[in-house]
Amino acid sequence: MKFATKLLHGTSCIDPVTGAASVPIYQASTFHQADLDRPVVYDYARSGNPTRHALEEAIAVLEGGERGFAFASGMAAISSVFMLFSAGDHVVVAEDVYGGTYRFLTNVLSRMGIAVSFVDTTSLEQVEAAIRPETKGIYLETPSNPTLKVTDIAAVCALAKQRGLLVIVDNTFMTPYYQRPLELGADVVIHSATKFIGGHSDVVAGLAVTKEAALGEQLYMIQNGMGAILGVQDSWLVLRGLKSLKARLDVSTQTAEKLAHWLSTHPAVSRVYYTGLPEHDGHDLQNRQASGHGAVLSFDVGSRERAKALFDRVKLPIVAVSLGAVETILSYPAMMSHAAMPPAERKRRGITDGLIRLSAGLEDAVDLLQDLEQALDALGPAEQAADDKQAFSWA
């Protein structure tokens, strides 16, 4: 079954009792147990709910995993998956992880005795050098947020396998449509399903998929034990969004590609980050391990003042936190997604004060381009970006 078909028919989505084509919303928190001695599939909705289960099955099938899990948010998925580790363990983490993940790791998990090292995972040498005797896992985001650095998933997994480490990949930017980390050797895949999977800026959700049964059992114990589960209404909304994932991503990616090429020729822009540009460092690797470049790109206009002027002038995109929606969203990582990261750490990762992230939606590409054009033309050429350019020269 091809991916587009799998989205609609990959799991048993027909209600067996009524034949309903859409999975019913089981709002029940508890389930009657007819017989004390006969275990039932569902007893309490935190432990299992038919609507949530339909979503969990769907994501497991799409990612090629054994078991899926739905959580209250992407961060709830991430914080629950990190509970697979124990005090004294050490995890190697991609250095430009989402600011919220960084905050959780450095402010909450660190107090629980779990150490993390942030390294540039695009360099296999750096990953290898960071591994200690107590290292238990490697956590990747690829392409990274917001500078879209690409990590070689298969190479990291091969190294991890030698050393007996778990590999966890945040696949939010790519979705299983473009990239399936479990097939490349990873053990756990995580999603902020709030983004492309939900796709409509109308539901906050997180998903995780495990490749093997034993790990799935462990994560189930944590999901049920900590209870950061996704509600049924939200589970249904994510399932609904999932059906159009391919159709949405096809259009959004096309638009992102057009915009990336156009932006890289605009004098007001000092730098464009998009893996679909041939000059992007990770372009070839991305072509090898994923089937698309996705709908997110970042570009640098040189300074906070210029970024602010652009935000004031654009009319179509929503200026907001989040990404991966039907609406095009512009965000300002320094003050939004990565505000939780100290300024020095941000700077080191290339998240400058002039950096803007664009998540392409489903508007007509011409309308978006014209809107950005009028806003960028008013900025004038990007002269003052020289400093920032120097700061990135290592990249």
Binding site: S29, L36, V108, G225, L230, G231, A320
Partner: protein, 400 residues
């Protein structure tokens, strides 16, 4: 922060009124009596560096704000936080503690809380001592230099043991500990622990607050700015937040809390009377009985007894026939809903507690827990009686 404001200031309102008025006409544009469900995850910023008070729904959502302000007001706290489940609320609060910290916890405790503490959080170097908090001396003896908090369930689940919240909070204060109270069984309609000196109140709002067996949710209420800010940070960072539809369902449920609690309690008292008179039953646990050892404390610190009743059958063999014979009352895990439910703690809610500890505490294999609903009491009494009779005749027991 968020711009949704509840009725405040001049108008004095009783709890019943506050609950019913929650979110009413607070939607400024339309004046909608029922506050809208905001499904939006992201909010357009008026300009760079400006915010409407809402940026991203994990951090704050207008529907969730109404719910959080309502529970904070109802509990007499400073801030409220809505979580994906009661367990999500508990684990969010546990984020306050660090490796090496120690907590003193009620000995008789919901099995899910015990499982979280022993199977998950112990791996992070948190340590827990389970003590009988009915005697505050046990708390004093359990305190160590690294103790940070005391975690209280009262009445306990399922044995309905009563802990003197004010006395525990006083000892905790003297020793620099936080007092955390799981107020699920009582709800703020019957008991407000923050007014008795506690620092933080938890709810599985799946139970009485939601009240309809149709929504999973947890709530946290904090007292004091510093603690509120710490929980706000953890709530957003860990991200186990409640979705907007579930927030709305919970708010809807809370509007009838007072009515439901009155009926739950009246029905519970009626069933307790029946249970005590039936030869198939050896013990009945309900804090509304004058001979219950915690009755006096309960009357002092709470304004009601709620609708939870536990009882022991004469033999474990009676359990299966009793449950199979129930016609109106469902055999299911959970409590606090309009529908009556019967739970077998040994294999359901408390299955994760090792058998020897479970039996030491008193959660034996003859114990059943009833969450008395709001059906007509005569129907419930008839159902319980016929099932008790059947449990005796099917096991060959005779009426004493």
């Amino acid at each position: 922060m968020p711009s949704v404001i509840l009725l405040e200031g001049e108008i004095h309102m009783h709890l019943e009124t506050k609950l019913v008025q929650a979110g009413v006409a607070k939607d400024e544009r339309t004046g909608a009596i029922s506050f809208p469900v905001y499904n939006a995850t992201a909010y357009r910023h008026p300009a760079l560096g400006q915010s409407t008070g809402y940026d991203y729904t994990r951090t704050a959502n207008p529907t969730r704000t109404v719910l959080e302000q309502t529970i904070a007001e109802a509990e007499g706290g400073d801030a409220g936080f809505a979580c994906a489940s009661g367990m999500a609320a508990i684990h969010t609060v546990m984020g306050l503690f660090s490796q090496g910290d120690h907590l003193v916890v009620s000995l008789d405790l919901y099995g899910g809380t015990y499982r979280l503490f022993e199977q998950v959080l112990s791996r992070y170097g948190l340590r827990f001592s389970y003590v009988d908090l009915r005697d505050v001396k046990n708390l004093e003896e359990a305190i160590r230099p690294e103790t940070r908090a005391v975690f209280v369930e009262t009445p306990t689940n399922p044995l309905m043991q009563i802990t003197d919240i004010a006395a525990v909070a006083e000892v905790a204060k003297r020793n620099g500990l936080l007092t955390i109270v799981d107020n699920t069984f009582m709800t703020p309609y019957c008991q407000r622990p923050l007014e008795l000196g506690a620092d933080l109140v938890l709810h599985s709002a799946t139970k009485y607050l939601g009240g309809h067996n149709d929504v999973l949710a947890g709530l946290i209420v904090t007292k004091g700015e510093e603690l509120s800010e710490k929980i706000r940070f953890l709530h957003n960072s860990i991200g186990a937040v409640l979705g907007p539809q579930d927030c709305w369902l919970l708010l809807r449920g809370m509007k009838t809390l007072a009515l439901r609690m009155e009926r739950h309690q009246a029905n519970a008292l009626a069933i307790v009377k029946t249970l005590r008179e039936h030869p198939a039953v050896t013990d009945v646990y309900y804090p509304g009985l004058p001979e219950h050892p915690g009755y006096e404390v309960q009357c002092r610190q709470a304004s009601g007894f709620s609708g939870m009743v536990s009882f022991r059958l004469r033999s474990a063999e009676q359990v299966a026939p009793f449950l199979e014979s129930l016609r109106i009352i469902s055999f299911a895990e959970s409590l606090g809903g309009v529908e009556s439910l019967c739970t077998y703690p040994a294999t359901q809610t408390h299955a994760d507690i090792p058998q020897e500890i479970r039996e030491y505490v008193g959660v034996c294999d003859r114990l059943l827990r009833l969450s008395v609903g709001i059906e007509h009491p005569d129907d419930l009494i008839a159902d319980v009686c016929q099932a008790l009779d059947a449990s005796l005749s099917l096991t060959g027991g005779s009426v004493r």
